[in-house]
């Protein structure tokens, strides 16, 4: 049997959960407090990466390859999401000359 890597022996899995929670909360903070649509989008990417890191950590600690396959699929979906999302932001900028999400309330009137 192969030996367990030192990082898995010395760092408890709880530390990874704490790290991912902190990253996720930073992402939420970015979504809630910024008005620039691109930065809001980047904060969403941060949240996706926090979840990826946690999935990979659980997968490595319990030797289950499914978790890392899920991370792979999440990355594929994130790439598609970014392509469409940025196209939408470009279209919004072209129409209203701004990427301030506070201006996007035209549907209200």
């Amino acid at each position: 049997m192969q030996s367990i890597p030192e990082i898995i022996r010395t760092i408890p899995l709880t530390n990874y959960i704490m790290l991912s929670s902190a990253l996720f909360c930073i992402g939420i903070l970015g979504v809630l407090t910024r008005r620039n649509a691109i930065i809001v989008f980047m904060a969403i990417e941060l949240m996706l990466n926090a979840v990826n890191l946690l999935l990979a950590a659980f997968s490595s600690y319990y030797s289950d390859p499914s978790g890392q396959i899920f991370v792979f699929f999440i990355m594929a979906v994130a790439a598609a999401e970014v392509a469409v999302g940025l196209a939408i932001i470009v279209m919004i900028y072209r129409n209203i000359q701004s990427i301030d999400i506070g201006v996007l309330n035209k549907l209200k009137n």
């Binding site: 709880t14 902190a22 407090t33 990417e45 890191l53 396959i69």
Partner: protein, 171 residues
């Protein structure tokens, strides 16, 4: 230097650069900090013995997605149209919500004890390309093929959304 110290240093670096992503005023600085965050997360993948994910993370996130972000930011004239920042009341409310969520998550983790990692059945080759390829092309073959359809739809959608219609100005 012990490996746990490396872990703590790397985690602090990750959180710091993630904070800088949402704090910095200039969007280009934000993108560069985000690239740095992705490299830190890739380093975490290396520590976790997940080499395949490290390579994919660097290629897909730091390579493709961030270049897309940089292109889009450079297309906008952001000197002219900087969105004014939200009121400090909104910022305070957002911080309270995020902080409460963090406290709740940490409390949940501390309440539950996670089962210890398996000792004998541990397989250090889990994250290697060979092992993951066997799983990806065996058990997950159908989702893997469906991802290609998703990419096709996303590509068509992005082109359709980005196309300039007759009479519309460029920028």
């Amino acid at each position: 230097m012990e490996i746990s110290n490396i872990w703590y240093f790397l985690s602090a670096l990750t959180l710091l650069s993630a904070l800088m992503v949402i704090m910095s005023k200039n969007p280009i600085h934000s993108v560069l900090y985000l690239v740095f965050t992705f490299f830190c997360i890739s380093a975490h993948y290396v520590l976790l013995n997940a080499q395949f994910l490290m390579a994919v993370n660097i290629i897909v996130y730091a390579g493709a997605i961030m270049v897309l972000f940089l292109f889009v930011i450079m297309m906008f004239d952001l000197k002219k149209n900087i969105p004014e920042s939200k009121s400090s009341l909104t910022k305070l409310a957002g911080s309270v919500v995020a902080g409460t969520l963090l406290v709740i998550l940490i409390a949940i983790v501390r309440k539950n004890n996670i089962p210890a990692p398996l000792g004998d059945k541990f397989n250090s080759q889990t994250g290697m390309v060979e092992n993951l390829g066997q799983v990806l092309y065996g058990e997950f073959l159908l989702p893997f093929e469906l991802v290609s359809i998703l990419f096709f739809v996303a590509m068509v959608g992005a082109v359709l959304l980005g196309k300039r219609e007759a009479g519309e100005r460029n920028f």
